[in-house]
C-alpha cells in the first residue's frame, strides 16, 4: 500500500527534510 501526499506550499522557503529511499515513521518530519 502507498500514501501519496500532494499539497501547496510556498515556492520559497519550503524544503523536504528527506532522502530518497529513507525509512520514515508516523510523526517524523517530512518538511519545513
Amino acid at each position: 500500500s502507498t500514501v501519496v501526499l500532494i499539497f501547496e506550499a510556498p515556492e520559497q522557503g519550503f524544503t523536504f527534510t528527506l532522502e530518497p529511499g529513507q525509512k520514515v515513521q508516523v510523526g517524523q518530519s517530512l518538511g519545513h
Partner: protein, 349 residues
C-alpha cells in the same frame, strides 16, 4: 453433422470471425485500462487482481485456532520484520486472525509527533519519491510521470454521487453530530493553523479553470510518496493540521505498489483503487491519497463509515464517486483533522 446431413455446408468462416471479435473486445477493454509496461506487466494485468484480493482478505479473516496464533504471527513478524514490542495489545492470542493482526494498533506514545515540523509522515514506510509537481505532472519514479488531475480527479470526471456508499445519509449524520458542538473549537483550530476556511471549494474547481490544482501566486505544488511494506504498521495519520472537504473514491485495479512495480508500470497510482481526500491547510490546497494494492484493497477512513472499497462490482477505469463533507460543519465546510490524528488505514483484502 446435422447441417451436412441436410446438405448444407458448415459455415466455418464464422469461427475465426467469432475469435477475432472476442480478441477485439478484449483489446478494447485493455486499451481503456491503458496498461503500459513490459510484457510481464501485461501478464499480471490479465489476472483477476480484485478477486484475488478479496479472496485473500476473506481467507485472512478466518478465525485461527488459539494454539496457532502465536507461532503463526511470530512467523509473519519474522518474515516481514514487524516490531511486536510496540503493539498496543502484546498478547498475540487476542488477535483472532491475520487480518486483525495486520491492522494492529500501537501503544500510546510509540510514534511521537515532531512538533517543530509543519509536515510529518502520515505512515510508517519508505519514501519512494518526493519533489515538485511541474506542469501538472507527478513523478512516480525517476522519469516516469502521471497526471495530477488523473490521480485526484477534476470536476469534469466526477459524476454525481451514485450507489449505496454515497447516499448522503452519512453527511447528514455528520452534520447533526458536529454542527453545534465544535463551532468554537473549529474556529480556534482554523485561526491557530492559519487555514482560510472561507474558501469553501478547492482550487481549480471553479468554472473556467481547466487545469485544476494550480497553486496560488508564490506557491507551488509538492508531492511525496510513502510505500508501506507488509510488515509495517498499516494505519495512517494526519500529516498536517487541515480541513478535509472532499473524498473521491476511484475504483480501479489492485496491482502491487512495490517499488519494483512502480518502476515498471506507468500510471500505477492512477490505475489502482484509491481514495483521494482533498482539503485545505495553512498554505492552500492539501490532499492525501491512500492507494490500495493486491494484498490491501480495503481502505478505511475513520470519519467516513460509508466508504466501501474493493467491492464486488463492475467498474469503468477512472470511475469515481465523490462525497463532500460540506455538512460536517457549516463553518469550516469540512472535517477538522489535527496533525497526528489517526485517519484510517489499510486492511487485508
Amino acid at each position: 453433422s446435422q447441417a451436412r446431413s441436410k446438405g448444407r455446408g458448415v459455415r466455418w468462416f464464422l469461427v475465426p470471425l467469432g475469435i477475432l471479435t472476442g480478441v477485439g473486445a478484449v483489446s478494447y477493454a485493455r486499451d481503456e485500462r491503458a496498461v503500459v509496461g513490459p510484457w510481464h506487466v501485461h501478464v499480471i494485468s490479465s489476472l483477476p487482481l480484485r478477486a484475488v484480493s478479496r479472496l485473500f482478505g476473506s481467507f485472512n479473516s478466518l478465525t485461527l485456532p488459539e494454539s496457532l496464533r502465536k507461532p503463526g504471527y511470530h512467523l509473519y513478524a519474522w518474515i516481514f520484520g514487524c516490531n511486536l514490542e510496540e503493539m498496543e495489545d502484546p498478547d498475540l492470542t487476542h488477535y483472532p486472525n491475520l487480518g486483525e493482526f495486520f491492522y494492529r494498533s500501537l501503544k500510546p506514545g510509540a510514534r511521537p509527533m515532531d512538533d517543530t515540523s509543519e509536515l510529518v509522515s502520515p505512515a510508517d514506510g519508505k519514501v519512494l519519491h518526493f519533489g515538485v509537481v511541474t506542469h501538472g505532472q507527478v513523478e512516480q519514479v525517476k522519469g516516469v510521470t502521471y497526471e495530477l488531475q488523473a490521480l485526484l480527479g477534476g470536476s469534469s470526471n466526477v459524476p454525481q454521487p451514485t450507489g449505496k456508499e454515497d447516499n448522503g445519509d452519512h453527511d447528514q449524520q455528520m452534520a447533526q453530530s458536529s454542527h453545534s458542538a465544535n463551532i468554537t473549537s473549529e474556529e480556534e483550530f482554523a485561526r491557530i493553523n492559519g487555514i482560510d476556511y472561507s474558501l469553501d471549494r478547492l482550487i481549480g474547481e471553479e468554472e473556467g479553470h481547466a487545469s485544476a490544482y494550480g497553486p496560488r501566486p508564490g506557491n507551488q505544488m509538492y508531492f511525496c510518496v510513502i510505500y508501506l511494506a507488509p510488515g509495517d504498521y498499516h494505519r495512517f495519520h494526519s500529516p498536517v493540521n487541515w480541513i478535509v472537504q472532499t473524498r473521491r473514491h476511484f475504483s480501479g485495479d489492485l496491482f502491487s505498489v512495490s517499488p519494483w512495480m512502480a518502476g515498471l508500470l506507468k500510471d500505477l497510482f492512477v490505475l489502482n483503487e484509491r481514495v483521494a481526500l482533498l482539503g485545505r491547510w495553512k498554505h492552500g490546497m492539501f490532499s492525501m491519497v491512500p492507494v490500495g494494492a493486491t494484498n490491501v484493497g480495503s481502505i478505511v477512513i475513520r470519519f467516513d463509515k460509508d466508504l466501501r472499497t474493493n467491492i464486488k462490482q463492475a467498474y469503468r477505469h477512472g470511475q469515481c464517486t465523490e462525497v463532500r463533507y460540506d455538512q460536517a460543519s457549516w463553518l469550516s465546510k469540512g472535517v477538522v483533522v489535527p496533525k497526528g490524528d489517526e485517519m484510517g488505514g489499510f486492511k487485508l483484502g
